[in-house]
């Protein structure tokens, strides 16, 4: 089917299928799934600027459903999420302006594609290594499987930074942390959201767990809460810059809505480090797909 806004021919069933897959990931891992949806859209022939804007748009609708489910489960720290939104929105806007400049210079596909590959490979390797380390800690030290974090030392040091104003997040078990740390996490993930078209969950969730030091299940829900705002604002600013194919986003979201149902319920059967170990494979798949398209492949080659 021809999508006139993004000027590309792509099967709507393929788009709904991508949405379905990332819907499962969103509900299950607490991430928007943009880090895998973006590479899949790029691989299927969608121009990079539309990949970024449309990916954010489809996540907006999906994250509302997933966040609501996780909130019902008590996995959302509203106070923490609300503070992070400030940094996120600034980051998203700067990221969107970077994309506008890259689009104008004609280098968007190679630059953003390469950044995608590097970030996805780093995240995959780091999460895999850390999860194995945490699982070993559970076996040897009898730690609670929900709370085992391989980098508790980093979280303690970050919480020890006394840059005022200090805030507390009782729902996440944090007695005191600098507000700038929280806003900084929001800014970094917002920048990635605006520039890569992702919700930022694949970097926000590790930052929330390893740097801020909140439990994995709260990180999952709070991340989805945050994605509602980062993807919503990202959709608006990218749409104003002509980077969003709403029809494509709506089609993807129909698949995602079904997938999110499966993902959210699946979290009942997996906890802590095991979630993160599974999570580590997904960025690797995304990196391979982007590399295929950058090397001239993609769906046309199949």
């Amino acid at each position: 089917m021809f999508f006139p806004i993004s000027d590309v021919i792509v099967s709507p069933l393929l788009l709904a299928g991508i949405g379905f897959l990332v819907g499962i990931l969103g509900g299950f891992f607490g991430v928007g799934g943009g880090f895998i949806a973006g590479p899949m859209m790029f691989w299927s022939g969608v121009p990079m600027n539309f990949v970024i804007g449309t990916d954010l748009a489809h996540m907006t609708g999906k994250s509302i459903v997933a966040a609501k489910r996780h909130r019902a489960l008590g996995h959302v720290d509203i106070k923490l999420g609300s503070f992070m939104v400030v940094g996120t929105i600034i980051g998203v806007e700067i990221g969107a302006r970077i994309i506008e400049a890259l689009e104008a210079s004609g280098n968007i596909e190679i630059v953003i594609g390469s950044i995608y590959v590097v970030i996805l490979l780093i995240i995959s390797a780091f999460t895999f290594w850390e999860s194995l380390r945490a699982l070993r800690m559970i076996r040897t030290d009898q730690l609670d499987v929900k709370d085992a974090i391989g980098f508790q030392g980093i979280a303690r040091r970050i919480q020890g930074l006394r840059i005022p104003p200090m805030v507390s997040f009782p729902d996440s078990g944090i007695a005191s942390i600098s507000l700038w740390t929280v806003i900084g996490v929001g800014f970094i993930t917002g920048l990635l959201a605006g520039a890569l078209g992702v919700g930022g969950g694949f970097i926000r969730m590790p930052l929330l767990v390893y740097v801020v030091g909140i439990p994995t299940h709260v990180a999952v829900g709070t991340d989805l809460f945050e994605i509602m705002f980062s993807s919503g604002f990202g959709t608006l600013t990218h749409a104003l810059k002509g980077n969003v194919d709403i029809l494509m986003a709506l089609v993807m979201h129909t698949g995602a809505a079904i997938g999110a149902q499966i993902g959210a319920v699946s979290t009942r059967f997996f906890v802590g480090p095991r979630i993160r170990l599974l999570f580590s494979i997904l960025p690797l798949i995304g990196a391979i797909m982007v590399m295929i398209r950058l090397l001239g492949g993609g769906i046309e080659g199949f």
Binding site: G61, V65, A239, I246, L247, A249, T254, I258
Partner: protein, 82 residues
């Protein structure tokens, strides 16, 4: 599947998914049929309206689909275990 609560969860969930899937498929076809030309015209002529309408559409779709889910659960008496 020995655990009765897990079995109940899976059965309820499967019914919900089938009903939900049929409704979403119908909506999917409606979107493709009617929205294509309207959105393309707005994209070419009024980017501000297109941006806000686009955001409104994806948010509305998210809310409506969640409402449909709750409606199905209530009407079919599918008790949620999560």
């Amino acid at each position: 599947m020995k655990n009765p609560s897990v079995r109940k969860l899976v059965i309820n969930f499967a019914i919900e998914l089938v009903v939900y899937g049929i409704l979403v498929l119908g909506y999917f076809l409606l979107v493709l049929r009617y929205l294509n030309s309207i959105l393309t015209e707005l994209y070419e002529n009024n980017m501000v309206v297109y941006a806000f309408l686009g955001l409104g559409l994806v948010v509305a779709q998210g809310i409506v689909l969640e409402y449909v889910t709750s409606f199905i659960i209530t009407k079919l008496r599918l008790e949620r275990l999560d």
